[in-house]
Symmetry: C4
């Protein structure tokens, strides 16, 4: 039951974050198509952030699905993750409204970096509670993606002062990398079905 309410609260916060971002796409005053033109970078950064929040929701969902026990540390590690994710609408807005300016692009990457660190911390906190032989621990295994992502964000942040296009290319690449269905997760379900 504990776990269910953790899921419900996280779903609520993620649903609001993902939807609040759309408020940054301010309704333009003009009535012509060209009034939409300055909104293009705002829209593109919205799409990217929607993708990221979708990935986080998806992975969070799978992670908790293969979790049995939660404790106070898990609750706080989860709130810590939600804190960093809650900053995404702000960085998305700043990056979009300034057409991917260097500082805004770097800040976007910095928040993504902290999100990935917070996600990793949550994962480790859950594994510590559930044991190294737990389904989650087995399913995650070596976690290559989880280890590469922070390095790629760092690369993106560094690149943003040279070319914000290149930096955003890196952010898009990380998102696509996570979009590819994860064999680890399927392994979890297989293990679970065998167990039952």
């Amino acid at each position: 039951m504990n776990k269910n309410r953790l899921e419900a609260f996280s779903d609520g916060v993620l649903a609001i974050i993902i939807t609040i971002m759309v408020l940054e796409i301010k309704v333009p005053h003009g009535t012509e198509w060209k009034a939409l033109q300055p909104l293009l970078p705002v829209f593109l950064s919205y799409v990217l952030s929607f993708l990221y929040l979708g990935i986080y929701w998806n992975n969070h969902h799978h992670m908790l699905h293969s979790t049995n026990r939660v404790n106070g540390y898990v609750l706080w590690a989860n709130l810590h993750l939600l804190f960093w994710l809650s900053l995404i609408p702000f960085t998305t807005g700043w990056m979009g409204e300034n057409s991917f300016a260097p500082a805004a692009t770097a800040l976007y990457g910095i928040v993504l970096l902290f999100c990935s660190i917070a996600y990793w911390t949550l994962e480790q906190t859950i594994i510590r509670k559930n044991g190294k032989d737990s389904l989650l621990a087995k399913a995650i295994g070596y976690d290559l993606k989880g280890k590469i992502s922070p390095l790629l964000y760092l690369t993106g942040i560094a690149l943003s002062f040279w070319s914000s296009l290149a930096a955003n290319g890196v952010y898009v690449f990380v998102a696509l990398m996570w979009l590819i269905p994860d064999k680890r997760i399927e392994r979890v379900y297989e293990l679970q079905e065998k167990g039952n």
Copy 2:
């Protein structure tokens, strides 16, 4: 359980989208009744969008009710639908504040078109996972409404450059078409009750 969290997250996002739209009806500065007059188109477009989001929530509810299994593809097809639905407050705001100007009316229809395509994609993804003999597949059958709607939206989009009133008439017509209780859904429940 998987499915329950998908429903919960979708409900959350839909609830927020439907309620955020009301923020577009900006509180007027005047204290007289006539201060409300410029809000009439904003209000009318709010009513239309509320109706559409209500229909989507209703149909989404029924679709998942007759679904047994979900997988990663279903989760993403669902997020894809939520993405297009999340743009409705923006297009509603633009259309309302510009008193149904042609471009705004066309964009409103374009987003509705993508919503209907995304809904159809989600439906097909669920059927692919649950099999052609599944309850959902049988219940949907030929899906006339689902096939006509995109064509009607296209008609509306084309009409908006000639008469935005006519275009909005088409959008209202599609909404009313979906409001009529669906015999297919009742068939699902009957099939289910027989099955149990």
Copy 3:
């Protein structure tokens, strides 16, 4: 299950409506206590609307608790209620920012009137589905409060052109009338416990 998702969606929408209203209390620019003074009518109208939405949530909760079956008509009657409730943040904002001006006070009452009609419609739709011998039908009985409330709102609307203080007094009276614990509801629980 059907009913659970109806509850979850309604809770989501009500939670958002109740919280979005606080956004109307705009952060003032001054740093002194007197900067808060113009916010007093905004705050008072927030308290009143919070109370009303709390009452609606509470009664909605009890009504669905004693409901067994829902159908398409119930879903739409529920969305109809949520539509009118979703206009409360707007009318609250208009009334608050204009220090209870006559037109704003009247509009506030008009929306409350439609909310009460929509609630009554939902109640009747649920009773029609569950039968006149259902727990809900028995528990509601003659429903004096539900019948008096619309009349009181009408009185408030009429009064607002003469004295907005008197009108708001009526709105406060109706709220307090509903705050008093309802014997009918307790009767439902007693009936239920006997039944089980």
Copy 4:
């Protein structure tokens, strides 16, 4: 079931409050790092309020976890708590945008004080319903933290006119005091496990 919907609604409201606060961190117009500088107090007050709402969610979660029965008084005591919590985004915004000005810092503490009183009222209302021998009553015991917190808030409010730094120091101290894992709660779970 009653209790579940109370939890779900509270989670919804808390999730929205926590996320709406981020809207107070307005996207700056500059594209340089220094454009972020005026946002520092806004960000710091966001962190503090996020922490407080996280603590309230956590404690609320634990309190209801060890609750069996709820009634109308509990529902209203809960709404009363949500009311005061809903004012936190406003006080956070005022304090942040005015760089911790005395009046804003005092108001921030005043709302925290009312939140703590409302929490205590909810706790007592639940205990009255569930009995003095209930799990919750035993687990809470003397409740030193709950009794010290209001006194500390009062100290903070008084200090804010002399030094808003000192006042905020007190608010941070109370937050950290609550962050330390609560032995009482662990005791509840132990008692529960023995009971089952």
